[in-house]
């Protein structure tokens, strides 16, 4: 029985879209790869006690009620490996979690909302493959999802306000964060992002983080970067140094810190795989990363396909929630129904999206990724972790073998051909090869199989 709407991703954007769609009388299927809804930000928290208006808490309570009252088909531990168009609708192919990866299913729907979120952007550096080096999001997931600290002495590094969120989560759980290493100088933030913070309702969050750091006396080093991770078999120390405005290391400023965990991230990469499978138009976001292009109603270039949240460009949890609401409205209208959200609320939501998007742009402007990191990537440093392709091989594909874009580097070196299909290394390959990032990033982003699936399972479909 086809649904009116399939929503991929049960984070805040997907929840918001599902609530609007179900309230409007559409049949809704919501798929999420996790074992609970809430996404990376809310991480499976139990249904909140209170919450009003269109807050997450209120939406989450409404969602849980609608699962019962309106029969939202909520499928957890479910991955979408393929999205395809059929006639005027979509075919969504799913599989179970890694213990049940052969449990495949084929769903059909009139409209689809993609709300698949994002993951930390990594830049290669010597030693980054050592166990103990992990993404900021990974460290946060350990502590928020499993109540486990990543190590005894933790360094948080990279760039962006997310480092503060990670640190806050770690120290709140009793973690020993020995320093936060920020490559940019967020004093420059004063001129840009601070000015829009109150409007975006973000100042409370940041104040909470900063207060917590100060209370625990966690040093916050600006214009510093982790240059190297060292250890035998696992992380034992990091080398940090001051960096200039282009992120080039300043000689003589190196220091070595003993630590057993490094949580690192240089912004985020939007998860655009499913949109790419159906040929939705992409854009380069203000952070330089790939994003799904949407109009003011969250409609992509593909008819009946909506996108919301980080997949349309990195912008944070509040933007994701508002985009989810608007995407839900667009999906409802696509199904020929009247959205159960007042015109005034929709108009307000669209205004909020614009305001929050401006705030996100300002943050990206204040926390850019500068080129100096490339100087640290020596020949032996792996760029593609899956296929173990070194920087010298990647650079050689360009200098010796005529590679001119990400796809040809991949074909010639195998960088991006492994388990992760280049999701981790694609931005780094483009930057190291100095490709025109728009064309090359888009060209390299087509992934026909969004998550591995057993051959026996797809054979059964034939």
């Amino acid at each position: 029985m086809p649904s009116d709407i399939v929503i991929v991703g049960g984070g805040v954007a997907g929840i918001a879209a599902a609530v609007v769609a179900a309230r409007s009388g559409c049949s809704v299927t919501l798929l999420d790869s996790g074992s609970a809804v809430g996404g990376q930000y809310y991480r499976g928290a139990k249904s909140p006690e209170s919450g009003s208006g269109l807050s997450y808490e209120a939406l989450r309570r409404a969602f849980d009620e609608l699962v019962v009252a309106r029969g939202i088909d909520r499928r957890l531990d479910t991955y979408v490996y393929s999205l395809a168009r059929r006639d005027s609708g979509f075919v969504v192919r799913t599989r179970g979690d890694d213990r049940h990866r052969g449990d495949v299913d084929v769903l059909e729907s009139r409209a689809v909302v993609i709300a698949t979120g994002a993951f930390d952007k990594q830049l290669p550096f010597p030693g980054w493959t050592l166990p103990g080096v992990m993404s900021g999001g990974g460290a946060q997931a350990l502590v928020k999802g499993s109540d486990v600290l990543p190590g005894q002495r933790i360094v948080v590094a990279g760039t962006g306000p997310f480092l503060l969120a990670v640190t806050y989560a770690l120290i709140s759980a009793g973690g020993n964060v020995i320093a936060v290493v920020e490559a940019n100088d967020p004093v420059g933030l004063a001129r840009h992002a601070w000015s829009v913070l109150p409007a975006a309702g973000k100042s409370a969050d940041l104040a909470k983080f900063v207060t917590a750091l100060a209370k625990k006396r966690v040093p916050y080093l600006r214009r510093h970067r982790v240059r190297r991770a060292s250890g035998t078999g696992h992380l034992e120390s990091v080398t940090i140094s001051r960096v200039d405005g282009d992120w080039r290391g300043i000689a003589g400023s190196e220091r070595i810190w003993e630590c057993d965990a490094l949580a690192i991230g240089y912004g985020f990469t939007a998860q655009t795989d499913l949109a790419g499978q159906v040929g939705a138009r992409m854009r380069i976001g203000s952070d330089g990363g790939l994003a799904v292009e949407v109009d003011e109603r969250q409609r992509t270039s593909v008819p009946a396909l909506m996108a919301a949240g980080e997949t349309t460009g990195i912008g944070g949890v509040d933007l994701a929630r508002m985009e989810g609401l608007i995407a839900g409205v667009a999906a409802v209208e696509q199904c020929g129904r009247q959205a159960a959200l007042s015109d005034a609320a929709i108009a307000r939501g669209m205004r909020d999206v614009l305001k929050l998007r401006r705030f996100a742009d300002a943050l990206h402007f204040a926390f850019p990724v500068r080129d100096g990191w490339r100087d640290d990537v020596d020949d032996q440093t792996l760029v593609c972790r899956c296929e173990e392709v070194s920087a010298s091989k990647v650079r050689g594909a360009v200098s010796d073998l005529g590679a001119r874009d990400a796809r040809s580097v991949k074909l010639l070196t195998r960088a991006g051909m492994g388990w992760c299909q280049g999701r981790i290394c694609a931005p780094a390959v483009d930057a190291l090869c100095r490709f025109d990032s728009a064309a090359s990033l888009i060209g390299g982003s087509y992934r026909p199989v969004a998550v591995p699936v057993p051959l026996g399972a797809i054979a059964a479909e034939s």
Partner: protein
């Protein structure tokens, strides 16, 4: 308080908690790596921690290449570290 579970890692028993991921349960015991790569024979643990990078692959009850970061630990799990492709030569 979540229920205690017992799993094995490379033969030895360890306590864990229901609702934890396999990665978290191992890291909780100071085990940071459970895979060696097939080209350079290097140790790996978690990187992205949220299911994207596939660096944290582990063998669970004989099934190779399971993502430790996305899979909840279950009572009685037999976890084995992996070499290379995760399959016997």
């Amino acid at each position: 308080m979540s229920r205690e579970v017992v799993f094995r890692f490379d033969g030895a028993p360890y306590p864990g908690r229901d609702g934890q991921t396999i990665a978290a349960a191992l890291i909780d015991h100071g085990i940071l790596s459970w895979r060696r790569t097939r080209v350079d024979d290097q140790p790996r643990g978690i990187l992205c921690g949220i299911g994207v990078c596939f660096d944290c692959l582990i063998t669970v009850n004989g099934e190779p290449n399971v993502r430790a970061c996305m899979t909840g630990v279950e009572d009685g799990d037999d976890l084995r570290s992996q070499e290379g492709t995760g399959y016997a030569q």
